[in-house]
């Protein structure tokens, strides 16, 4: 009756996996080319505002002519509550700087020292002076603009005269 022949005790043929490494290597090379290395994960939450026609920072990153500065609410809820009680809602995060006390977290001196130290560390690698090393501020959309201008003032004092306001590049229209 049945039109389908029952397969006898023949085992299923094995799948040839010899081209698997090739496929995986292809994927690997794609990701190596298409991505850029991550900087440190900030301990503050930053939701960047959206904007159009923003410049791409990748070339500056490749030449390490850019430093990142974060401005947002602390990720740690208990910490955020503690600082809010003393009137500090938005806080600075500078990469690779361990901040433990409130003074460290929002201290204008910290910016100057951080920027100068970073510049001294990579001085031999770059050809440009400190005035053209960009300081990229990644601020939360709810942050007060006054803090941005505080940062500007500090950078001005050490002649670091290039600032960038980070946004999420979104194609409008």
């Amino acid at each position: 009756m049945s039109k389908f022949k029952k397969d006898g005790g023949k085992p299923a043929p094995g799948i040839n996996t010899s081209s698997l490494p090739d496929i995986v290597f292809m994927l690997l090379f794609f990701f190596m080319v298409a991505t850029t290395s991550k900087e440190t994960d900030p301990t503050v939450k930053v939701v960047k505002p959206t904007g159009v026609e923003a410049a791409d920072m990748t070339p500056y990153k490749q030449r390490s002519e850019i430093d990142f500065l974060y401005l947002g609410k602390p990720l740690n809820a208990a910490r955020a509550a503690r600082y809010r009680s003393i009137g500090m809602e938005y806080m600075l995060f500078m990469d690779n700087v361990v901040q433990s006390t409130p003074d460290d977290l929002y201290s204008t001196n910290a910016i100057r020292n951080w920027k100068s130290d970073k510049f001294e560390a990579k001085k031999s690698k770059i050809t440009k002076g400190i005035e053209s090393v960009i300081t990229c501020v990644k601020a939360d959309e709810g942050a007060p603009t006054g803090t941005i201008f505080d940062i500007r003032k500090e950078l001005q004092k050490i002649d670091a005269l290039s600032i960038a306001y980070a946004v999420d590049g979104e194609i409008k229209k």
């Binding site: 159009v52 410049a55 007060p144 603009t145 002649d159 290039s162 600032i163 960038a164």
Partner: protein, 251 residues
Amino acid sequence: MAKRDIPEVNAGSMADIAFLLLIFFLVTTTMDKDKAYVRNIPKLISTQDVPPPIEPRNICAIKANAQNQLMVRGEYMQNPDEISEKIVEFYQKNEIKNDGLNSFPMYSKISKKDIEISLDQAIEQAEAVENTPDALATIIEFKQRQVAEWEKKLTAIEMYGKETLPEIHFQAHIRIEVMKATKYELFAKIQSEIEEAIYELRNDSSMKIFGESYKNILSRYSMDEKLKDKEKIDLLKILYPDRIIEVTPKV
């Protein structure tokens, strides 16, 4: 000696190694690119001199208060998307023909001959300063920069291909005045609108003069600096300069 068979290398673990590398790269890298608006901070100078006054027609003031309300050129604005249109108007109102009655910046039309005369004068002055004993380094630098500027204009007008080069008043600028409590979101929006307006102006002009988009020229310039794109970009920058002043908020 007897010929021996070379044993085949077992490549079965190759995939494992590749996977391991792949996952390492997936974890340590990021796809999204950092995008930002680059601005210059003015150099700190200590001077008691009062700067010369600026005619109000040369200022495109964008103000935002602590309640995140906008005012552009003295008019209240509900929708921040309209800022770019105002900026375009600020640049283009007097571009074709100066009208002394409106409140927009004046344009000057400069001919090639005028530029050549000014360039010669600038070179002469620069040489005079350089030959003066104990001349200040900043003054020498300033004069040299002037020479470079006139040289740029000379190449620009050759590139432009017309009798005269229209130039907006040298004081015309965009001024951002925010308050300390203004949300960063609105500040970034203002920056975005400025960038959008200037891109639009330069792009339209680029299409008219060179028949290709400004973005095309910029991306080609970033790949190869040897082509004539530097001059093209300079011309567009002279036609529509992006002079932006961010005023430090007091309150």
